[in-house]
């Protein structure tokens, strides 16, 4: 253990004396602080915008006065996805998903206001978020600061000296890997502490534990990620003779892993399992209701059967003779039918998206960058699964709201509901999932990071025996 500690101290001493490293250190610090504060400001702006919009829509809903219950269901409700506190660390797919949905009777609307759809192509270069820094820039800095670590020792003869003093190459390489992992982990911890402070100021104790678990998990997976990068770099530094050839190789690897592969797998996925067009999606729902699906008969048959069974149950021959207004009950039956059709079609849409994304997910076994990218989005609640969760919760709320209004239409004292009635309907509230829920959907990525770490540790322990160049 003492040997490792000495190597870490020696390596740190060398780095401290290196002016280039001091510049790099400053650069990383400035970038980290910049991304955290700019991200925080942006979060506050978006949060304020969405809260204002949501509260305005709620007021409009509450103050619509005496109105027919079904008309109120048509007017509907507008739900806005609350801005997630962690999304400013990694905005994930949020710039490409709608944040606002109009919920109304008879139909499911798409979320609108996709931020990217009103912006220039600059958005495709990505946002300089803290997540981008951790995933893409930090690995590069690890490469820049450590690629010469063993080559330098060999060139200036220190390597021979160290080996002659009884330090094994394995200990030396492991020590160096630990040094570089720790340095960047230190940056990460400092940044996370600043971030945690901002979060604490923003939310106090509300949902603090959930955010804390997510931050701790983030530190853990990034520790493994940096260990992987540092291991590859230092190991290759021991294998290569020429530092420039090594640098070019490492830059090429970085480029292929972090730029080419994620783009190529996403594009390939889109070609491999193409999504339906909106037109054919809508058409498929119309067709399904005409012909019926699974155990459901065609819609007209279903409606007729429902009407007949209703009259039979109440022993009447005309719907007008029912002891309640039939319109509300019939509309609810229609809703129930259409919900099944929608669930079927939307389930198909989600399955296609998941199939498209599975190519990138499988590639994470080869590409640790892809694994960390997906894990980071999951931890920051900004991946496509969290988007689906928002849609599901919105749809659940719509169904409850429409059912309530249909009930009121059928069994309410008057056709028009009172002014105060709407106050009884609770506001939509998005429930953030637990970290366990988020991570459970990223098992393959977790396996990838774990496997890479174990394999590289094995390589550092046993592979150094095969390095003959001293």
């Amino acid at each position: 253990m003492n040997k490792y500690w000495n190597i870490i101290r020696y390596e740190w001493l060398l780095l401290r004396r290196d002016r280039a490293f001091a510049i790099l250190f400053g650069f990383v610090l400035v970038l980290s602080l910049y991304t955290i504060f700019v991200g925080y400001k942006k979060y506050q702006y978006v949060k304020q915008q969405r809260e204002q919009a949501a509260s305005k829509q709620r007021k409009l809903f509450l103050n619509q006065g005496e109105v027919n219950a079904h008309m109120a269901a048509h007017y509907g409700y507008i739900v806005v996805k609350p801005s997630s506190l962690l999304s400013f660390v990694d905005p994930g797919v949020e710039p490409y998903t709608g944040t606002t949905i109009r919920l109304e009777a008879h139909q499911q609307n798409d979320p609108v206001f996709v931020p990217a759809s009103g912006q220039s192509s600059l958005i495709r270069f990505g946002e300089l978020s803290f997540g981008l820094l951790l995933q893409v820039i930090f690995p590069l800095l690890i490469i820049f600061s450590s690629y010469r670590s063993v080559i330098n020792d060999r060139e200036n003869g220190t390597l021979k000296l160290l080996l002659s003093q009884g330090v094994s190459l394995r200990t030396l390489i492991l020590g160096k890997v630990l040094t570089y992992t720790m340095i960047y982990l230190f940056f990460l911890i400092i940044s996370v502490l600043i971030y945690a402070l901002l979060v604490k100021m923003e939310i106090g104790t509300y949902a603090w534990d959930q955010i804390l678990y997510r931050l701790l998990f983030m530190i853990l997976i990034y520790f493994l990620y940096y260990f992987i990068i540092a291991s590859i770099t230092v190991f290759l530094s021991a294998v290569y003779n020429s530092s420039s050839a090594l640098l070019v190789t490492l830059l090429a690897l970085w480029f292929v892993f972090s730029i080419i592969m994620p783009k190529a797998t996403a594009n390939f996925g889109a070609q491999y399992a193409p999504l339906q067009s909106k037109q054919s999606f809508n058409k498929s729902m119309v067709e399904a209701s005409k012909t019926g699906i699974d155990n459901l008969p065609p819609i007209e048959e279903y409606k007729q059967h429902f009407r007949d069974s209703l009259m039979k149950a109440y022993h009447v021959t005309d719907l007008k003779d029912l002891p309640f207004r039939s319109s509300g009950v019939l509309m609810q039956a229609d809703e129930t039918y259409r919900n099944v059709i929608y669930d079927h079609a939307f389930g198909g849409y989600k399955d296609t998206i998941r199939l498209q994304n599975s190519i990138a997910t499988f590639s994470s076994l080869l590409n640790p960058f892809q694994a960390i990218k997906n894990l980071s989005m999951a931890i920051c609640a900004s991946d496509v699964e969290h988007h689906f969760l928002f849609l599901e919760q919105g749809e659940k709320y719509r169904r409850k709201l429409v059912a309530e209004l249909n009930h009121q239409d059928a069994y309410g004292e008057h056709e028009d509901v009172s002014k105060d009635y709407f106050h009884r309907i609770p506001d939509f509230s998005y429930q953030s999932p637990s970290i366990a829920w988020s991570i459970a959907r990223r098992k393959l990525e977790l396996t990838s990071i774990g496997l890479w770490s174990v394999i590289l540790l094995g390589l550092l322990i046993s592979g150094t025996l095969f390095i003959k160049k001293i």
């Binding site: 910049y34 700019v38 978006v46 915008q49 969405r50 204002q52 919009a53 305005k56 829509q57 809903f61 619509q64 008309m71 007017y75 994930g92 710039p95 490409y96 998903t97 606002t100 798409d110 609108v112 206001f113 931020p115 990217a116 009103g118 912006q119 192509s121 600059l122 958005i123 495709r124 270069f125 990505g126 946002e127 300089l128 978020s129 981008l132 893409v136 820039i137 590069l140 820049f144 420039s244 640098l247 070019v248 830059l251 090429a252 480029f255 730029i259 190529a264 996403a266 594009n267 996925g269 889109a270 999504l275 339906q276 067009s277 909106k278 037109q279 998206i353 498209q356 990138a360 988007h387």
Partner: protein, 489 residues
Amino acid sequence: MECHTPRFTYFWNPIYKEDMSTRLMIWHYQFLLLMRNKQLLISFLILIALAFYAILYGQHFRERQQTIVQGIEEKLAINDSIARKFVLKIDTSSEIRKQNFQYRPMAADVIMRKFVVYKPSEFSALSIGQKDTYPYYHDVNTNNSLHSSVIQEMHNPNKLQAGNFDLSFIIIYLIPLLIIALSYNVISGEQDLRTYTLLRIQIPISKLIIYKLEFQFILVIGLVLFFNIAGFLISGLTIQDDLYNMLVWISINVLYILFWFSICYLIISFNSSSSLNALLLGSIWIILVMVVPSAINNISNPPNEDEMIKSTFRRGRETDVHHELTQQQALDSFYRLKHPYPVPIIKNPGAADIMHAQRELINREANMYAGYVIKRQKNQFNEVLAYGPINPIFITQYAFNQVAATELNSYLMYLDSAESYQTKRRYYIYDLMMNRKDFGIKEYEKFPEFTFQQPTYTFSKFSKDSIYIAGIIVLCLGIGFRQTKKRFL
């Protein structure tokens, strides 16, 4: 070997014949070295494969949008034939049908359910830009503002986030890396191989750098031209129809390649080691391609959510203010609306006239809020362009997108045009309907048609947009030239 001072007449002056033969000799050896470098040759092959994939992917994207557009056009043709039958059928069999007779232009419009389309250009296969995120067909029937009936195509957010693997991506991201990989050690590599001194006594190093970079420049330009020609052919572009855009496209490529070579020349001129050169050039690539564009992107904020809600959700509660107007108030407000079309004066307004007047007020209000959103988007876009001098990579992407008509400004132009068209169409119908004019197949056929022509990205616009890039090239070459003279004596 005699040393000459380089001049602008370098290639044409017979005095420099000897230089030309030296240059050709160096190019020849560079070619031999390249052929022997297996690593580099494999990289070339991979790059070619990636470029072809990118071209085919772009084509796939364009074909998909075209198929959807075709589906819409087919649906429109069916609706048109139904609407024609409706117009030809004059049904006054009952009193109510007689009363409704005057509203037939509106009914024909509802049956028609007109859509306008923002078609993908041929070049969009080469530079998809933002075309995959913008809605590209809009319902422009009379009842709604097109801003309130936006149809967003189905997307995979992960795919949008990853970006498009098109030819412009290959040029913008990969070609600079190839240039860096080729040139980072043009001189330092000779020092590493201990051939530097040998070369120095035969040729001035400043010239050697230029000759070597010239060879690499020709190689890269040749490769990129090959990609471009393949892209043009696969995308179905023809010289007869698209020569101008092809030339602009190629000019953007040449300027961009020159830009990266000038940066490499500058770094090489400082006579540093191969590692330091690779480190510096790698850092410059990261800063220019990743950090600067994404940092500028951070500055821009999304548009106002409330305005977007008001422009999009124009139904129900939000529009009560117009429904609560008295008939006369609604008509007065309707008459006061600004537009360049004949004003229909309703003599004996019926309930349907009032309803349409109210709808017009609602639609105009939606257009007004959409106008605020669009104004913000335009301002934001201008802000982004104002950072052009420090964001040359985005300017190059922007130039590609201008040729392909896949940038925000092209989309907003289309939206503007579509909104004007919808208003024109509505007022044509109001004129027929509210002035109780005759409506037959002749009038139906005179329904306004939507025409939208993308403005051409001219050389003068391109020159204006890329003036900063040209400035950077001149600056880098100038400093580099001085440095080589100073450091490689």
